[in-house]
Symmetry: C2
Subunit: 220 residues, 2 copies
Amino acid sequence: MNLTARSSQDAASASVPAHDRVYRSLRTRIMHGEITPGAALTLRGIGREFEVSMTPAREAVRRLAAEGALFLSSSGRVSTPELSNERIEELAALRALLEVELASRALPRAHIALIDRLQMINTTVAEMVSKRDAVGYIRTNLEFHRTLYLRAQAPAMLAMAETVWLQLGPTMRALYGRLRRTDPPQNHRLIIAALKAGDEPGLRLAVRSDVTQGLRLLAG
Amino acid sequence: MNLTARSSQDAASASVPAHDRVYRSLRTRIMHGEITPGAALTLRGIGREFEVSMTPAREAVRRLAAEGALFLSSSGRVSTPELSNERIEELAALRALLEVELASRALPRAHIALIDRLQMINTTVAEMVSKRDAVGYIRTNLEFHRTLYLRAQAPAMLAMAETVWLQLGPTMRALYGRLRRTDPPQNHRLIIAALKAGDEPGLRLAVRSDVTQGLRLLAG
DNA sequence: GGGCGTGGTTTGTGATCACATGAGGGCATG
DNA sequence: CATGCCCTCATGTGATCACAAACCACGCCC
């Protein structure tokens, strides 16, 4: 039946299914803003790119659509979502709600090793900003947040926050691409300072500001 | 090729795809607690029940798994999730976080017609409680909450809340089945009273209590 | 020159099949 | 009688195919 692309399957398919590999690839690509909003995808195109048939491509797309990372038209066509301003504000509010809680839960568990790590990541964030690398910025910025929130020991809550990031991915890219700013991440420093001081109200405020500032300038 | 189950497809397939029909059926079934936690499902079994092949069944399952409504073992076996106590507490915290915000956003838009409607639904809730109809109780209880939150005009936030309900579905059933109580929904009345009075702090408190009380007795 | 129908072509949907894997039952053995 | 092993069957995965509908572009007509 199929003579090609067999060798790669023999070893890898059992350990990690093809649909999962496709899913993960597309997911990070979307979350990091590597795809512009409204871009069209096709099952056959995805299959061709990952050297799989339509079946795993379809499952990956279905999964991403369920998370809001992809938009399915009424006829089943696949594209990244184009968010309305109301939608963006709502997702920003969700980020604030979830991430303030996550940070708050992480605070009592945030030891010096974590803070050091956050500071190091923050250096990379500043570097990406100065290089005007939008995708790199989004990636390291999310890494900063995820590193902090992992300490909250709240996997379901973190998963929800990541779902929101995913939905905002393509839009974030378009947003930060438009944003010509070389400011270092000031709010990140406030977050780190609040963590060091064990200042919960300050931490909540800093996270809320960091999360909503970028999205605010679109609506404002 | 296939001679059976064709007539149903000719009319319905175009309007609503088979995988969507399967998805919706399973979704409400899970959300309303009609399936016990840990129950096993099979793609072929689902396909047989809905008179479709494995393909739409797989897509529906994949979608539900992405929402946390179903658990996929490492070998791909499908079952409803069995939640740990930590997980339940976390989901309860998420309900509180999201639904307090939704209620708060709905408050300024809550006119008398909505309150009347909530009171009517609440009558049905009390009826279900007195009949000890667990599934009916869960269904009407969620209808009460959804009716209120729809007024918040926050579709993304509502979708997240529904995802949490979905994850808690099977566990809720097991919980309320164990709970032998004939109390009328006291917190619902507090919610309605706060809505009437335009009392936002009271509303937030009432929603938080309503949402966490049921789940509390499991951990406590 | 512009609006509209009509063809081909691309696309998603669903069915079916081959295959590998893992779970569960039955049998033998201690 | 309990325990461990093996075999069988059920189950998920992925590929391929047939089909219908939607999209797009070309050309026609006004």
